[in-house]
C-alpha cells in the first residue's frame, strides 16, 4: 500500500533524515540564547541566569521532526497528487466552483446571524458571553475597522498609519456627548461618524501633496497627536484616567439594558438578569454596521468615485490627465474611511462603557493595517478572513491552557501572540504575497466578469 503511494525514491528517507538533523541544529543555534537561557534579577538587583534545557529540547525536536516529516512524507505526497491530477488532465485550478464557494457570502451571513442563539443553546446564557463577546464582537469590530481602512489603503492606495485616530474620535465623541448632553447611542452614532469624517478631511488637506513614505509618516504623527491631546487635555477628556460609565446603547429607546431602568430588557420579558443579552444585542448592532460598511463600499466601487479611487491607486498622473480632481478624490477617500472608523469607535465606547487613550495606541493602527494587507488590499472577503485569523487567533491563544502541559506551568500563551502574529505575517507574505484574496473583481464588464490577477494591480504610492 505504502509502496504504491510513495513509489521508491531511492535515498528519500536518508535525505529526510539529513534535512531533519540540519533543521534541528539550525534551531539549536537560533534558540540557544533566546530560549535555552533565561535571565532574571535576583533580590539584590543582580543579573542571574539559568538554563532551560527542556524547553530548548522541545523547540529543537519540533523543528527537526517537523522538517523530517515534511521532506519524507508530506512533500512526496503532494507531488504525487499533483502528478496524478496532471495525468488525469484536470487543470490545477478547477473552473466550476463548488456549492459552498458559490454561496459563500450567503452562508457566512446566515451563520453569523444564527451564531448567538446557537452558542447560547449550547453553553447557556452566561456561558455564551465569552463566545459572543470575545470571538464575535471583538472580531467584527476589527472587520469593520479594516473594511473602513480598506477604502483608504486598498482602494485609493493612500498608506494611512494613523487610522486609529478616527476610531478614537468616534469613541470620545460618543463618550463625551452622551455624558454632556445625554444623547442616545442612535443619535450619536451618525454624529460620531460625521465628526470623524470631518477630522479625516482636516488630516487630508495638509497631506494631499505628500506621497508614499512621507504620507505614512504624517498620518502616523496625526494618530499620535490625537492620542496625546486625549491624554493632556484633562479638563475635557480626564486624561489617562479616561471616561468611565459611558451610557449603554438601547434597543431604539424601547428597551434599555440599564439594570435599574423600568424598561429593562430582561425584566420586560421576564428573563433572568444577565449581561449576555446586552452583548448579544451589541453583536447584532456591529454585524449590521459591518453589513452597512460592506454595502456602501461595494456600491461606491461601482460608482464613478470608487473607480476614480482605484484609478488613483494605479496612476495619479494619468488620473489628472483625464480631468479627475485628485484632491477631492483623495479627500473623499479619507473622509469615508474615517467615517467608518468613527462608527466603529462610538460602538466601541458603548460596548466597553469606558474609553481611555490606552485603547488608541499605534499598535492598533498597525494591527488594522496588517489585517488589510494580509486579507488582500481591496478584497472584503479576504479582509474578513484575515480579521478572523488575526483577532480570533489571538483570542484563541488565551484559551490554549493545554499548552502549559507541554511548555510547563510558567508558559503564558498570550505573551507569544506577537511572535505568532509575526510568523503568520511572514508565512502569508511568502506564500500569498498579495494577501488571501489577491485578485480584484472588475466593476463593469461587457461580456464576462473576469477577475483581475493581483500581478497587474498596484499598491499605490501616495
Amino acid at each position: 500500500m505504502t509502496e504504491q503511494n510513495f513509489p521508491a525514491t531511492p535515498g528519500l528517507m536518508a535525505k529526510a533524515l539529513k534535512e531533519g538533523i540540519f533543521a534541528g541544529v539550525l534551531a539549536l543555534g537560533m534558540f540557544l540564547l533566546y530560549v535555552g537561557i533565561k535571565t532574571d534579577q535576583n533580590i539584590n538587583n543582580e543579573l542571574i541566569w539559568y538554563p532551560r534545557w527542556g524547553l530548548l529540547a522541545i523547540f529543537v525536536l519540533v523543528a527537526g521532526i517537523g522538517r523530517f516529516l515534511i521532506v519524507g512524507f508530506v512533500a512526496p505526497h503532494i507531488n504525487q497528487r499533483r502528478l496524478a491530477k496532471a495525468k488525469a488532465g484536470i487543470p490545477e485550478v478547477s473552473e466550476d466552483k463548488g456549492f459552498f464557494r458559490k454561496h459563500f457570502l450567503k452562508i457566512a451571513l446566515v451563520a453569523l446571524v444564527l451564531y448567538p442563539p446557537v452558542v447560547m443553546s449550547i453553553y447557556g446564557t452566561q456561558g455564551s458571553l465569552k463566545f459572543v463577546d470575545n470571538f464575535g464582537i471583538q472580531i467584527l469590530i476589527y472587520v469593520m475597522l479594516a473594511w473602513g481602512l480598506n477604502v483608504v489603503v486598498g482602494l485609493a492606495g493612500l498608506l494611512d498609519l494613523g487610522y486609529v485616530a478616527f476610531y478614537a474620535v468616534g469613541a470620545y465623541s460618543y463618550a463625551l456627548l452622551s455624558d454632556l448632553f445625554g444623547l442616545s447611542f442612535w443619535v450619536l452614532l451618525p454624529i460620531a461618524g460625521i465628526l470623524a469624517a470631518f477630522w479625516g478631511i482636516i488630516l487630508g488637506f495638509p497631506v494631499l501633496r505628500l506621497r508614499g513614505d512621507y504620507l505614512a509618516i504624517v498620518t502616523l504623527a496625526f494618530g499620535e497627536i490625537i492620542r496625546l491631546v486625549l491624554i493632556n487635555w484633562t479638563d475635557v477628556t480626564h486624561g489617562t484616567a479616561g471616561i468611565s460609565g459611558v451610557a449603554k446603547a438601547s434597543i431604539f429607546g424601547i428597551w434599555s439594558f440599564d439594570v435599574g431602568a423600568s424598561n429593562n430588557f430582561a425584566k420586560s420579558f421576564g428573563l433572568p438578569m444577565s449581561s449576555a443579552y446586552y452583548k448579544i444585542f451589541l453583536f447584532y448592532v456591529i454585524l449590521a454596521l459591518c453589513m452597512l460598511t460592506a454595502y456602501v463600499t461595494l456600491r461606491l466601487r461601482r460608482m464613478p468615485i470608487g473607480r476614480a479611487w482605484e484609478a488613483l491607486r494605479e496612476d495619479e498622473i494619468a488620473c489628472r490627465s483625464l480631468g479627475i480632481n485628485t484632491v477631492m478624490t483623495k479627500l473623499t477617500a479619507f473622509a469615508i474611511g474615517a467615517m467608518f472608523g468613527g462608527f466603529a469607535g462610538s460602538f466601541f465606547a458603548a460596548r466597553q462603557g469606558f474609553v481611555s487613550p490606552e485603547s488608541f495606541v499605534f499598535l492598533e493602527s498597525a494591527v488594522i493595517l496588517a489585517i488589510v494587507v494580509l486579507g488582500g488590499m481591496g478584497s472584503l472577503t479576504g479582509i474578513a478572513i484575515a480579521a478572523i485569523a488575526m483577532v480570533g487567533g489571538t483570542e484563541l491563544l488565551r484559551e490554549m491552557e493545554f499548552l502549559k502541559l507541554i511548555f510547563g506551568p510558567d508558559f503564558t500563551p498570550e505573551l507569544y501572540r506577537m511572535l505568532l502574529f509575526g510568523l503568520a505575517m511572514i508565512a502569508v507574505m511568502l506564500f500569498k504575497p498579495r494577501g488571501f484574496v489577491g485578485s480584484r473583481e472588475p466593476t463593469a464588464f461587457l461580456k464576462e466578469r473576469k477577475a483581475v490577477s493581483g500581478s497587474f494591480t498596484k499598491e499605490g504610492h501616495g
Binding site: 482605484e310 472588475p442 461587457l446
Partner: protein, 288 residues
Amino acid sequence: MASGTTTMSNDTILKVEHLSMRFGGLMAINDLSLEAKRGEITALIGPNGAGKTTVFNCITGFYKPTMGMITLNQKSGKQFLLERLADFEITKHAKVARTFQNIRLFSGLTVLENLLVAQHNKLMKASGYTILGLLGVGSYKREAAAAIEKARYWLEKADLIDRADDPAGDLSYGAQRRLEIARAMCTEPELLCLDEPAAGLNPKESLALNTLLRGIRDEGTSLLLIEHDMSVVMEISDHVVVLEYGQKISDGTPDHVKNDPKVIAAYLGVEDDEVEEVISEELEGGAR
C-alpha cells in the same frame, strides 16, 4: 496681446504665443509661438531634447510656463487661457486630452474600466456627486449605460473590443498605445495631444494607428502630435512645426518642412558655420 486673442479666427484651435519655460539655468523653450488649426493634424517634430514634450506639458498644465500665453479656442467660441488652469481643469473644462510618451494606463483595471474612468466628470454629475447615485435616484443608471456604449464605440474603433474585460496591463504594447488614445477620446476632447503615439510600433501597427488618427480627425477632433516616426508624420499630418533647442526653426506643410535646409541641418547635424552656407546654396539654387 489681448487684442490678439479676441481677433483669433475661429479656425484656430490652439495658439501658443511667446512661450518660454526655464528649468534653473536651462531654457527648455525660448519664445516659441505656434498655431494649430481646427480639424487638422499638427505635428511637432525635432531632434531629441528639442523641448517637444515640454511644450506638451505646458499646454496640458503639467508644467506652469515661465512666460507666454496659451489660448484654446473652442468650437462654441469659448476661449481658455490654459496657462492659468490646473492640469485636471484643462481636460475637464477646456477639453484638451493627452497621452504620455511612456504609456500610463490603469494596469490593474480592465480595458473597459479604463474607458469608464475617463468619463468620470460626466458620470459624477449624473450620479449627483455620488449621493443621488448611491440612493438610486436620478439619471445615473441611464448615464452609466451610455458611458458603456461610448466605451464600446471607441473599443471597436481601436480594435480592442475582444479584450474589453481583460486587465489593461495584459495587453500588448501596440494595443496599450491604442487603448491610451481611446481612453483620451472618451473625455470628449476638442484637442487631442499625442506624445509619440507610434513609438515602439511595428509597421503594421503603425499603419493601423494612421487610420485611427485620421478617423479621429474626421470626426472633428483636432490633433497635436509629437512624433519621431517620419512615415507617420509625413503621411498623416496637415501641418508640421519643427523645434530645435526650444525654438521654432520651421513651420508649414510636410513637403515644405521636408525640404527646408534648416530642418535638414538640424536632423543631419551640420557644423554651425556651415548652416549659413547650406542656406545660401539653397537660395542660389532657387534663384537659378
